[in-house]
Symmetry: C2
Subunit: 401 residues, 2 copies
Amino acid sequence: MTTLEDVREWDAADPLGGFRDRFALPDGVVYLDGNSLGALPKATAARLKAVVEQEWGEGLIRSWNDRDWVGAPRRVGAKIARLIGAEADEVIVADSTSVCLFKLLMAAAQLRDGAILAESDNFPTDAHVAGRVAELLGREFRSVPRDRIGEALTPDVAAAVITHVDYRTARRHDMRALTARGTRIVWDLSHSAGAVPLDLARDGIELAVGCGYKYLNGGPGAPAFLYVQGALLPQLRSPIAGWWGHAAPFDFSCAFEPAPDISRFLSGTPAILGLLALESGIDLMLEADPAQLWDKAIRLHDLFAARVTALCPELENVTPADPDARGSHIAFAHPHALAIVRALIARGVIGDFRTPDIARFGLTPLTLRYEDVWQATGIIADVMTKEAWRDPQHASGGVVP
Amino acid sequence: MTTLEDVREWDAADPLGGFRDRFALPDGVVYLDGNSLGALPKATAARLKAVVEQEWGEGLIRSWNDRDWVGAPRRVGAKIARLIGAEADEVIVADSTSVCLFKLLMAAAQLRDGAILAESDNFPTDAHVAGRVAELLGREFRSVPRDRIGEALTPDVAAAVITHVDYRTARRHDMRALTARGTRIVWDLSHSAGAVPLDLARDGIELAVGCGYKYLNGGPGAPAFLYVQGALLPQLRSPIAGWWGHAAPFDFSCAFEPAPDISRFLSGTPAILGLLALESGIDLMLEADPAQLWDKAIRLHDLFAARVTALCPELENVTPADPDARGSHIAFAHPHALAIVRALIARGVIGDFRTPDIARFGLTPLTLRYEDVWQATGIIADVMTKEAWRDPQHASGGVVP
């Protein structure tokens, strides 16, 4: 059995151990929600101060050129490309995940006739966007449970949206195998990018979107990213034409000519504050060795799972034991999961609740020590033993996104 | 003839004179581009520091509830509503102007058959969005010059997009008169909101979008806003369904049910950093008396126009003399406008160039003194006299957005 001394030794030997001090984490908290909102890198606070006071305040309109705000969507996209195994010119930062998904799904579905397919039980925005795209294009909408999505990838489907890592259970699809079935898929990498090994080129991925404010530590409501395989790009047109997607935006021509590159998927003026905060978070992540990141994620997970199994048998672990079949968070089912999560937050262990009965904990290798997992699981055990979650003070209140 | 002593007296008596010190303006610059990127309010720098370090860094995921990030799109929308003569629940902050326009134009066009109409010579993103909307819906696209747009508002038009204030000449349409023709219009208020008197309720306006980073001083790439007349809202559905537009986002249901209120036009997670920076800019503007703002805008403009007419007859003033027919910037045509603007920027007078031949200067009453206009127009005269703009150093380089 692992002991506290063991995990302290793991921390002492952790090659990623130095990253924790690069984040501004509050005292008295074990933060297990970096899969929902990543923690603040200290460098981001400094970068945003400079962006606001110098680039905006002093530089004013000149910073679009002098500080290359103009190039930021492609520049930051190229950095994300390194994290997901794509070419630098295949990724761009824009809008929100929902809007990026809308753009790619509309563009993909217009290439051929057929149904629009989505998962019926994954993160709802994917199904919402897909259902409405089907309506707008007059197509059949198919909504299929996640565990049967493979068999639904039939030749009469024009485009599917599939989430790589399930936001509740952390179950991970085999991207390569599903892609090999030949149906065009827009992959949602929201719970994958920065969390699990990705190699979009190797796996033959054509289209993907992802989130900036989770594992990429981009800040609340950070812009999203979208990926288009280079060979497919020339065939695709954004449904939201706008001046930033024009081949020559500053010619101010009312005749729309799409940019020859991935910029064609931009629409309006980029959200510079969020975009540069995101860049700062990604710069930090690019300093870490990806193999070390994933290795530590596996070990954090295994420690968490073993401790909960030993200490709290009434919590049902719904995340796969096989690392190749899961993401970087861990989830437990319990009929009183909401009250339990609230009791834990009151004790400084910040995870979150997802309907109907899931307590979810993100395991982010850059910010977490093994001892944090030890401590958090100890508090979980204490809360479960004392049934503190039955306290009425935890029985009401809002749910965090 | 007005003298420098006169304008100094005007500044001394200016009821808005105290606002200038609330902005972080660089030394040695007369900033005449607040119509492209508004200046930095000092309070915004402090607010963003608190948002980053305390709300994100310390509060982490809890700030969605504890700091009411969740309510920010509606809360800031309600503040914008006060600036444009709308009800608090008729405005929401979301996305970029282009994406907001796409949402409203798609939604409006789906209410009835007919053509999609746009101006052929105003800010290009409006025509880009409208042309693509027409394609997606299989409608005829009509593109008509701005000065003939009134006669194009015929019963066979399903929806039109019209910009209230022209981004080049500052010519302003009569919103009420054009609306009274009965064709459904999505108004683009990008160069109006925070600049000219607006009363959407009085004028019977049904739909509008506007920009956060110009006169509202929201920062580079600030999110945009959209307005829907309360009575029309229940009929409209966003083309981009997403979880933030759901009636109960945190139920995480894959069955989409649009929010009963203006939130139905949200899609993805709001861009919190940009949204709260925008709120800070709007809070400052709400302290100013709207009548005093417009009165000062008129006087700044008249002083600018009179000085240029007297000192630089070779610059053709293309902005209407009648205040009721113009916005809050002033524009001059000259074959060498680009070189002239570059020479002025090198002298610290920051305006901008717009194709093909327009030198454009924004007149923002919160940040500008009458003496700034006196000084800037003096430098313009000097540049024109010395033909400094013929200097080859100004003949190349990028154009700011």
